[in-house]
Assembly symmetry: C2
Homo-oligomer: 398 residues x 2
Amino acid sequence: MATTVASHDPQVKYIGKPGEVSFARGLEGVIVAESTKSYVDGNAGRLIYHGIPIEVLAERSTFEETAFLLLYDKLPTEDELEIYQMRLRQYREIPDEVYQFISCAGRRYNFHAMAVLRTAISMLATFDDLAEEDTMVAYEREAIKLISRMATVVAAIGRARKGLPPVHPRPDLSHAANFLYMLFGEELDPLLARVMDVILILHADHECNASTFTVRAITSTLSDLYSAVVGGIAALKGPLHGGANEEVMRMLYEIGDVEHAEAWVRRALARKRKIPGFGHRVYKTYDPRAHILRRYALQLTQRAGKEKWLKIAEVIERVMIEHLGQRGIQPNVDFYSGIVMDSMGIESSLFTPIFAMGRIAGWVAHALEQRRDNRIYRPRFFYVGPEHLEYVPIEERG
Amino acid sequence: MATTVASHDPQVKYIGKPGEVSFARGLEGVIVAESTKSYVDGNAGRLIYHGIPIEVLAERSTFEETAFLLLYDKLPTEDELEIYQMRLRQYREIPDEVYQFISCAGRRYNFHAMAVLRTAISMLATFDDLAEEDTMVAYEREAIKLISRMATVVAAIGRARKGLPPVHPRPDLSHAANFLYMLFGEELDPLLARVMDVILILHADHECNASTFTVRAITSTLSDLYSAVVGGIAALKGPLHGGANEEVMRMLYEIGDVEHAEAWVRRALARKRKIPGFGHRVYKTYDPRAHILRRYALQLTQRAGKEKWLKIAEVIERVMIEHLGQRGIQPNVDFYSGIVMDSMGIESSLFTPIFAMGRIAGWVAHALEQRRDNRIYRPRFFYVGPEHLEYVPIEERG
């Protein structure tokens, strides 16, 4: 919670004008803006996007429709959905130079998928004659463009990691099916396209997370949408934000066998080692997204003959809930998303980029919301350095 | 100032756990972290970097030394400065592929210098085998690398805008002299190198501005330093943050002649048009950086035979202070920096990139400070959307 710092405190100085200033380290307990996008009831384990529970969207909606809901605060009519989906499809292709950059990056030693994603999205702006157009109409068009192209870039990165040339998008497939087509070079079972669709829906928005906050902070300077999204990718890259799903798979590989799982977790708990995929600042109960993904994990690991990972995961979950469940430490979305994607044949370095492919819907929706009622984000620091330091000539410095 | 929102307010919902939450739109009046880097006394018109007044640094220090002061919270000894400058010089060169991207971008219709800067710096990470190394030693090395290479990238962008090939860095020159050498392809008068040095010093840090805040927010997820700096560039690009110096020159060109200046300003004031380069949220008196740049503007416009712009500026300043000076609206750093750079032969599209070349010192210093005592930035939004929205089948939507 925010605490108020007295203005006569002799230890510290105010930055900016004097008066009452709240000190909220890490901005905890501070509301920065209003939003109509998503809301978590952490005690009930309920997540809604503009009033619709995530379970309903996962069951009945598509990623395209969910992104529309976040952008426009309403479900589309048939006509609206058709026009909007046509726009999404027409923007799929990206310039050859961006494919080339991604392919070349794939041949280099240091190839962090998120660094390549950040660069490729930034580069797209330099090929987009309309990127700097500063109207709400232009801004909305760039939003749809970015949702669409993120999939093309992520698929090309996945191909480059395997030394394969990119596969160009197809306009006749859904967003998720086209992504899998571009990634694998062939049309996959519709079940897998549906699962990818659900993964994107589940990751589309989540209140004021660090990347969405960064997107809004950049937008608040009236910078362009590409800049905002590039900042979102930069923040999502951090291991405290995205990336936990990758760590879950690494843990499962490390455990290796279901017989070792229980002992491994108990040892990890005894050593106070952090178990990835558990606990969340907001949820005090089971993350509703984990529930949904758990069902798909069951179906897909069986289908892929990879039941082992799910069995290990179930042991981890049982031991963890036994020990920490009452303290609100429960599986979160990252715990099952990695297993689901792994059983689809997607390698773990793509997990965070795919997270970004879903979250882009929330990022651009929040950027538009910020633009419509903008106030530049201007917090302060607490200056705790010296008030006077003498500039001693260099030859006299000790 | 932050206001407290009552938890029983029926109009709105808390995001996150219930309890007392502060609503600070735009985070105004909220301190997010401690800092030892810089401090502004807005009433006295005093800016210090770690205790040393900006006037002293502009007079006696160099950009290299000032960046050291911000990074390490001390002035370097002779040995320290030598080693550190050697490191800065050794990192100057960038990969051919990044030069190529910049040159190609220069041939394209849509070429926003800040979009190219953002992409080029992001791309550098994909060539840097050590960009992902997560230790404080590695982090500090990347900081020095980024300070150094920002100049190479900005100079190459300047060349590309004129359709000229890049000029490779020289290791024997100071940071500022080498930048001008790379930009103009020849070694310039030492006076100009000194003025560039001062410009970089004056822009090196400035409390919790929007780009520095973005850098720290991204860093708080434990993302890498390139990601943080790319986010800083993205925020600086916004017209509410960087870019005002460009607008000042545009205004001077629009006025065109000193005889029209007074009438122009009075008309603009009457129409409540915003005059760029005036006013600042913190300074209630003359921005000390503007004082310093004003002197150089006098010297350099005479030298370049461009006295006209300064004369117009002086009229604007007189009329503005006459009308708004008592309300604390005074010239800020942007008002004279554009005139100084213009008289050095630098085109206005490079003004914000050069701002970034100075501010990178503060960005990396703040990123290191954030890393040393990290807490993820986690503010909240105020959810004002519907609590329940029915998922009506698409054929029934009106």
